[in-house]
Symmetry: C2
Subunit: 211 residues, 2 copies
């Protein structure tokens, strides 16, 4: 715990909050990360939204919505989790935890409860807003332009699976371009989000760099 506190640069007054944020239900039925994830998800959205609203004074709401999606989508948050190595600190029993992004949201909820807006804003600025991202939706346009220009076809999107966990849907979408072996895969809470993330992945593979 102390190690994680060092990494995130904040010492909890109430250590139990941080513990709760890092407890998977396989480990304990009592206090687990989910309630804090509910809270952190909302707070993350709002902090990013307010930040982008103030930064991009001349942009319309659609741009803001798409740019916010780049910062709060699970794939990006998973990368952030890998950096902080959160999964090392999660208590669970023999689980292969894939949705590491949920724990960063839970930590955000815990930071808010323990330290208030100032502390949670500092964390989000340092670990999540520290990169310049493109608005999420642009990736579908970018891959479309690439595909038309280089292969003369449009990319093909296919829904591979559609599941419902509790109240939330999970779509998995694959995108291919005829004549190109590489493919992109994306998960999201709706088809469109999954398509955008798949487009982004394929674009990264084709262009050979991340963004």
């Amino acid at each position: 715990m102390q190690e994680l506190e060092k990494i995130i640069g904040y010492e909890f007054k109430n250590k139990k909050l941080l513990e709760e944020a890092l407890t998977h239900p396989s480990y304990s039925n009592n206090l687990t990360y989910q309630r804090l994830e509910f809270l952190g998800d909302l707070i993350l959205d709002t902090v990013i939204g307010i930040y982008l609203f103030k930064k991009h004074k001349d942009k319309k709401e659609e741009f803001l919505t798409n740019l916010k999606a780049s910062y709060v989508n699970r794939n990006y948050l998973k990368k952030v989790c890998d950096e902080i190595q959160i999964i090392k600190f999660v208590k669970h029993k023999n689980c292969n935890i894939k949705r590491t992004d949920k724990f960063i949201e839970a930590i955000i909820g815990a930071l808010y409860l323990d330290g208030g807006w100032r502390v949670v804003k500092k964390f989000i600025k340092r670990f999540i807003l520290n990169r310049e991202l493109e608005p999420l939706k642009d990736y579908k346009n970018l891959i479309l332009n690439y595909s038309l220009k280089n292969k003369g076809v449009v990319p093909e999107y296919k829904v591979i699976s559609e599941k419902t966990y509790h109240n939330k849907k999970e779509f998995v979408v694959e995108v291919r371009i005829k004549g190109i072996k590489k493919k992109g895969k994306g998960k999201g809470e709706n088809k469109k989000e999954a398509e955008i993330i798949a487009a982004k992945e394929l674009l990264q593979k084709i262009l050979g760099h991340t963004f």
Copy 2:
């Protein structure tokens, strides 16, 4: 404007913010409500979420998610708008504005920018959190129980339309019970949300009271 300020109980330091929140794009292409709606939507979600999180300490995140949905869904917010009579103050050109809920979100965005968290929380507590609501998802169970008990059948849900505005989907769903003439209709950003609202409407019609 002064009349509306009286109703909502807050005097804006920067009157232009309130004006922006009440300007429809049919009236002016310059400053319109949409950017503030983006902001207010996030702030409303978070204020309600934090309030419910603290109020229901023993409830799981699913309950919190469903109860939050009761307070932030467009049908409920439209009722709040009718009370404050916001539509009287909206500047537009010959428009039949149906999504009045968007203006209350824009006002919330404006209140936050003008007065900060304290002011916006006061507004939300006074006009939105002032009723005890049921978690949204319960309505489907309630209508199912009623239908099975009284008619021996399950309610039938039908998607009437599915549209996309900008990035957001809009589903319209109708629900009927065989042997009952009344029907319920609901709109939502996904099928499930639309079904729940349709179930709620039908239940209200059958039971003859609102809740």
